[in-house]
């Protein structure tokens, strides 16, 4: 009994994948390590007091009255040294006529806060009292932390990397070995060859998305507020879109070097501007239409809207449209251009 060619070809995908330990690492372990690392680095902490220096005992005592400051009393030279090496954010020193001079770097947000807090402490030590009484109500909610922002971005990036790398590397390597030519010299229907990549992507998808998602949800309590089936649909759409881009890149390239050059050219801008690690909104308004038209931006926005805001597909029409159009155009061109030898 012979097995079905599509089954054998998919098995080939599987074997090539698992027998390449690097591929497994970059696909699964690396995004996980990165998420864990960034999650820990940017975890929400009780706010730390800001280190400042004072050059007189009197100023030091005044500043110590505020728990938001950690005060070191130093000579002016020693204090300057601390400031220049970043170990304190601000120096309070006496000025002429019983005034106080704050020495700090205005571009450093910590230093600006320190300036406000220190001045308040100095003024109240001198006898000022607040005319309006005030108290704080603090919020810290899942969904607005950095890790909540990061996890959907990592899932989007994983779909891009996995979708493009696996196809491009495999197809171009097969072509370079003249194995593609050898395979099309058999009766194998050509669409089976391409379909095997689709099937393999679908098999891998639950792991590729599930691992970072599960990690985010279990370890960091990242919310998953939208309908799960819509989330799955978005991942599928993303995987197909990036698969099509990968297919287009590998449709003619004869060497891995050429293909990975093109691939970096395509991926690098998206890593930076598509809101994986920080919001795409940070880029100037003039380039926003361009940023929004990138498939990874669309995917990340849609995943975040689903997970963090619980939005439905109806509210993601532009993003879904970007992905759909990109997929159809790339897949169509790839089929037209594909070099079977």
């Amino acid at each position: 009994m012979r097995s079905h060619p599509l089954f054998q070809l998919t098995l080939l995908r599987f074997r090539e994948f698992v027998r390449e330990p690097e591929a497994v690492f970059w696909n699964f372990a690396f995004p996980l390590l990165l998420t864990a690392g960034l999650g820990v680095a940017f975890r929400d902490q009780a706010p730390q007091p800001i280190p400042v220096a004072a050059v007189t005992q009197q100023l030091a005592a005044a500043l110590r009255a505020d728990p938001q400051l950690r005060v070191e009393e130093r000579t002016p030279e020693a204090a300057l040294n601390l400031l220049h090496t970043g170990r304190v954010a601000l120096i309070a020193e006496p000025g002429p006529n019983a005034s106080v001079v704050y020495r700090y770097d205005e571009a450093n947000p910590d230093a600006r806060s320190a300036r406000l807090v220190a001045d308040r402490a100095v003024q109240s030590a001198a006898g000022r009292s607040d005319p309006v009484p005030a108290s704080n109500a603090l919020v810290r909610e899942p969904g607005s932390r950095y890790i909540d922002f990061l996890v959907p971005g990592m899932i989007g990036m994983g779909l891009m990397n996995g979708g493009m790398w696996s196809l491009v590397f495999s197809i171009v390597d097969t072509r370079r070995r003249k194995l593609l030519k050898r395979i099309v010299a058999t009766p194998m229907p050509r669409h089976h060859y391409l379909l095997s990549f689709l099937v393999w992507r679908l098999v891998l998808l639950p792991c590729e998305v599930g691992i970072p998602l599960g990690f985010g949800v279990w370890v960091f309590g990242v919310p998953l507020r939208g309908p799960l089936w819509q989330f799955a649909l978005l991942c599928l759409l993303g995987a197909l879109t990036f698969g099509s881009i990968g297919l287009l890149i590998s449709s003619r390239a004869r060497t891995i070097e050429a293909a990975s050059g093109i691939m970096n050219l395509v991926q690098l801008p998206m890593w930076i501007v598509s809101g994986v690690f920080f919001s795409a909104e940070r880029f100037p308004a003039v380039v926003q239409p361009l940023v929004r038209a990138l498939p990874l931006t669309a995917l990340n926005d849609a995943l975040r809207a689903n997970m963090l805001q619980g939005s439905g597909l109806g509210q993601m029409v532009p993003q879904v449209a970007v992905l759909g159009v990109c997929m159809v155009v790339c897949f169509g061109s790839a089929l037209k251009l594909f070099r079977w030898r």
Binding site: R2, S3, H4, P5, F7, Q8, L9, L11, L12, R15, E16, R19, E20, T174, R177, K178, L179, K181, R182, I183, V184, A185, T186, P187, M188, R341
Partner: protein, 308 residues
């Protein structure tokens, strides 16, 4: 005369700056092993890949097993066994997995296990392709060509780069396949390979067939049965004298040695020795071989196959 298994007429194919095939005619009969012989760049691969339906010819007719690529492509693929000159099979698969993959593409054929046994790779059944020796890789490639039970087998330089033992092993496999009554077209630039395996050969040069026939016919056509090579150190030789020796047809000097084209070896060698003794020349080297296809190529083109 049976219908041809492969018929090619007036085949032409040009690439940007070279004419790879220039008006080639071939006819291969069922059950024979046909050799395309020629130096590097002669157009052998181009020709065979056109016959395999992998390259489009510029013009000419190609009929394979009575069918044409344009109309019967799918059917033809089922009935052809193909080995390409430069394929590297996937290093990460094992021998068995590779065969299973190729087997799955064909309707009929042996089981993967049988296919492996056929090329004597049982011991390497579970070894990765990347760890096979050159000869084992070639046998695996042959097995991949045989998994569909082909009626017509195309082999492009099946033994190039192999050591003599591995070549001999591959020859045995090809001879076995021939015994089953199937047709083979192979290319090679080894004359001995063509002489061993092929019923008929076509010698190709610059995209054309410059000679065609059985190896025996071709060798007979140059009217020389043996070649005698000798040298006499630094001493000068007179070619005219050598050509007057009975049984010698012609003589020439090549790379410091003299080469005699000989029709009657038993007359020529004693006479040559006597002549050298008469002239007082020291014989430092002497060898003879029966004329080969190589000598046919040399006499047709004035070049050797290897450095053509």
């Amino acid at each position: 005369m049976p219908a041809a298994a492969l018929r090619v007429s007036n085949l032409k194919k040009a690439y940007k700056d070279v004419t790879a095939v220039n008006g080639l005619d071939l006819e291969v009969f069922p059950g024979e092993c046909f050799g395309l012989l020629g130096p590097n760049g002669a157009g052998k691969t181009t020709t065979i890949e056109i016959c395999e339906g992998l390259t489009e010819p510029d013009s000419g007719v190609v009929e394979v097993l009575g069918m044409q690529w344009g109309r019967h492509g799918a059917e033809l693929r089922q009935r052809l066994g193909i080995q390409l000159q430069e394929t590297q099979l996937s290093d990460k698969l094992t021998v068995l997995e590779t065969i299973q993959l190729f087997r799955s593409f064909f309707r009929n054929g042996p089981s993967p296990e049988d296919a492996i046994a056929h090329v004597q790779l049982q011991e390497k059944r579970d070894a990765r392709v990347g760890n096979l020796s050159g000869g084992q890789k070639q046998r695996l490639a042959l097995a991949c060509a045989l998994v569909g039970n082909p009626d017509l087998l195309f082999l492009d330089e099946p033994t190039t780069g192999l050591d003599p033992q591995a070549r001999r092993q591959l020859w045995d496999l090809i001879i076995q396949f021939k015994k089953d009554g199937r047709t083979i077209v192979l290319t090679t630039h080894y004359m001995d390979e063509a002489q061993q395996l092929c019923e008929r050969v076509a010698i190709m040069d610059h995209g054309q067939a410059i000679a065609r026939g059985t190896p025996r016919e071709l060798i007979a056509s140059i009217g020389v049965e043996h070649v005698v090579q000798f040298s006499v150190g630094d001493a000068a030789l007179d070619l005219g004298t050598l050509e007057r020796i009975p049984g010698v047809r012609s003589a020439k000097l090549e790379a410091g040695a003299a080469q005699l084209q000989v029709t009657e070896l038993h007359q020529a060698v004693p006479a040559l020795l006597a002549e050298l003794t008469r002239q007082g020349l020291p014989l430092t080297e002497l060898s003879t071989h029966s004329a080969t296809l190589e000598d046919v190529f040399v006499s047709l083109t004035g070049r050797h196959l290897r450095d053509a």
